[in-house]
């Protein structure tokens, strides 16, 4: 809130109506769960906002924390009465993509953290049904306490929720079909913009026994409408869970050359799509350990060819120093015999096809893991053990200060080695043209959690003290969106300030996708109260010339 602003108002609502709406809402949820002081509302700011402390920063005018579906229905009715824009969050930990803040300054946050019932976990038919406020930590604790033989596929930070994460198309770290969190959901309950409650798929059949097991029921599949969008407030979701494997092995593959990536990816795709392996983590050992400086000789080659990288010299450096160019960690699940057989097969496939390829087993465990094994596991997320260890990537290193956070630029590119190398080149050229040190090198790796595609991500640092730095970052980000789109790469997810730009490049046939969703918006939510602008979908009253 700027010093001059006495109180932030919701877009298009006058103070008198706003105060009336607040008092009606307080009667529904109780004053304790309606947050309206600056001190409380500041807790709903986006800690990683690219607009921190600027007028455009999306700070809510009000936050409401209902406990029951009926309360949400009432809130929605009041919102319609006063044209109050409301923005639902589940656990509100969407750091890098908006955190717990709304899309626009003044939108009212509906914080569903208190709706935290684990409705059911079934470890015979392998699913769960959850309310939005249930975090990955909560679910894991519940399963372990009750000795249930299932694991949930989780993202890196364990404090988010299956509901919130999947609704923003989040990803995890086991087998592909579970890693796609929205894809692994099954069944939804949603409060619509008119306050009615809808259940999708099997849930639409009263007394159905397969809410979280069959995704379609009968009729059109509507669930997709409620992700990265603004057509409803999701109040329950079912998810498919993975049975705990009996045995787990982590193998490490190394290859000596940059171009080895091309056959490597092809074999890895085969192994993944045949469910022989879980999530392959690609890295390059040429990158220094976090916090340590890069070897100065190697660093000099990043700019030694007219300001751009000298790939031959980098390759030569890797060979001379016996540093593998790529390293892939490969988790394998199953029973002891099947895992051993698969490991041998994996070894055979890579060593036959790539000169100098090596496969080494570094972890090999029967499940359940002992406490000590679980604690020392290299990639806890590959066995669904929630944690926050990933936050190393923004902390202070020996060589540099801490970051305030980051805003993810996350384009989807083909799962193809050649295309990745091309993508590196295009990004490096773009940084060069912008006159900046490139955040991408010829050994930057793809992110591989996205099933059947790569994501080639950049985490742009944001600042809570340096507005100029944020402005520069916003400029680079929007440039990158355009450059990527020119090459057929589009973001899978974006923080609120970039959602218009990102959705804007999905413009086949004169923006038909956007025009179609807007038509739906105008029909389903005629007052435009639900999360205006979320996913680039604006209601008529606020659309203006945004995407004429």
């Amino acid at each position: 809130m700027s010093k001059k602003e006495e109180i932030i108002l919701p877009n298009g609502v006058n103070k008198e109506d706003f105060l009336k709406a607040i008092s009606e809402i307080e009667k529904i949820v109780g004053t304790k769960w309606v947050f309206k002081t600056k001190e409380d509302l500041d807790l709903y700011r986006d800690a990683y906002s690219p607009y921190w402390d600027e007028l455009e920063e999306p700070i809510p005018s009000l936050a409401i924390a209902p406990k029951k579906v009926e309360e949400i229905q009432e809130i929605v009715r009041i919102a319609n009465k006063y044209t109050l824009p409301i923005f639902p969050i589940s656990t509100g930990k969407n750091l890098g993509y908006g955190s717990s803040a709304p899309n626009n300054r003044g939108d009212v946050v509906i914080d569903l953290k208190r709706m935290n019932k684990i409705i059911e976990v079934n470890d015979k038919r392998n699913y769960c049904i959850l309310e939005p406020g249930v975090s990955y930590f909560d679910l894991y604790e519940y399963c372990e306490k009750n000795n249930l033989n299932v694991i949930m596929d989780i993202p890196d930070p364990g404090w988010g929720s299956p509901v919130g994460n999947s609704l923003d198309h989040g990803w995890g770290y086991t087998y592909g079909q579970y890693r796609d969190h929205f894809g692994a959901h099954c069944g939804m309950e949603v409060v619509l913009a008119n306050g009615e409650v809808m259940r999708t798929a099997m849930g639409a059949l009263p007394g159905s026994k397969t809410f979280a097991e069959n995704k379609y029921g009968y009729g059109p599949y509507l669930d997709g409408l409620f992700s990265q969008s603004n057509f409803g407030i999701v109040t329950k979701m079912g998810f498919w869970m993975m049975p705990k494997p009996e045995h787990y092995t982590l193998a490490v593959l190394t290859v000596p050359k940059r171009d080895d990536l091309i056959p490597l990816v092809e074999i890895m795709n085969y192994l993944e799509d045949s469910s022989i392996i879980g999530w392959p983590l690609y890295r390059s050992p040429l990158n220094p350990e976090y916090g340590k400086p890069m070897n100065p000789e190697l660093k000099s080659y990043l700019t030694s060819k007219n300001g751009k990288p000298d790939i031959d010299k980098i390759q030569d450096y890797a060979i001379r120093n016996d540093i593998p160019y790529w390293q892939i960690d490969i988790p394998v699940y199953g029973n002891k015999d099947s895992v051993e057989a698969n490991i041998n097969y994996i070894k055979q496939r890579f060593t036959k096809a790539i000169d100098g390829a090596k496969v080494k087993v570094i972890e090999d465990y029967d499940l359940p893991l002992t406490k000590k094994q679980a604690k020392s596991l290299k990639h806890k997320v590959t066995l669904g053990i929630p944690n926050l260890e990933i936050f190393w990537l923004s902390t202070r290193g020996e060589n540099f200060g801490p970051k305030d956070g980051h805003v993810w630029f996350s384009p989807i590119i083909p799962r193809d080695g050649k295309e990745l190398l091309k993508c590196q080149e295009i990004y490096i050229d773009t940084f060069h043209e912008l006159g900046m040190e490139s955040m991408i090198t010829p050994f930057s790796h793809p992110r591989t959690w996205m099933y059947r595609a790569f994501c080639f991500m950049i985490g742009f640092a944001n600042s809570r003290t340096d507005k100029e730095k944020n402005e520069q970052m916003r400029k680079v980000y929007t440039t990158m969106v355009k450059v990527a789109a020119k090459h057929g790469w589009g973001d899978y997810r974006a923080a609120p300030p970039f959602q218009d730009a990102v959705s804007g490049v999905y413009n086949f046939n004169n923006n038909i996708l956007k025009r179609f969703t807007q038509e739906l918006k105008d029909t389903i939510d005629p007052n435009g109260i639900l999360a205006p602008g979320r996913g680039g979908i604006w209601p008529k009253r606020l659309r203006g010339d945004k995407n004429a």
Binding site: L43, F391, T395
Partner: protein, 113 residues
């Protein structure tokens, strides 16, 4: 007179005991908050601890919050509600004021006992 003194003494012992008891349950609740929300980054070997190890390299201050002797309750509350660097601030639906008070009590008194 003596009887009155005895009563006063008895009552105040009772009050002190219950104060201690309530402090000790608050303290235990504070530890629970720490274990739910803080330990994942501030436990031994975790990212915030590793970063603080660099900050306090030349001092005798421990990078592990639960081993700190100098933590002030108000400082703990401030950091939880304002964040620090990539640590975000926490909403009241996550850690409410009562829980925050207990957490601050736990961290500020743990090593002063």
């Amino acid at each position: 007179m003596l009887k009155n003194m005895k009563t006063v003494l008895f009552v105040s012992v009772l009050a002190a005991t219950s104060l201690l008891a309530s402090n000790s349950t608050d303290y235990t609740k504070g530890k629970q908050v720490f274990d739910k929300w803080c330990v994942h980054c501030h436990g031994i070997g975790m990212p915030a601890t590793n970063a603080l190890r660099i900050v306090y390299k030349e001092t005798n201050i421990s990078p592990v919050l639960e081993q700190r002797k100098d933590l002030d309750a108000e400082f703990v509350k401030f950091i939880v509600r304002h964040g620090r660097y990539s640590m975000p601030f926490f909403r009241k639906t996550e850690i409410n004021d009562e829980q925050l008070k207990n957490l601050a009590l736990y961290l500020s008194t743990k090593n002063k006992k």
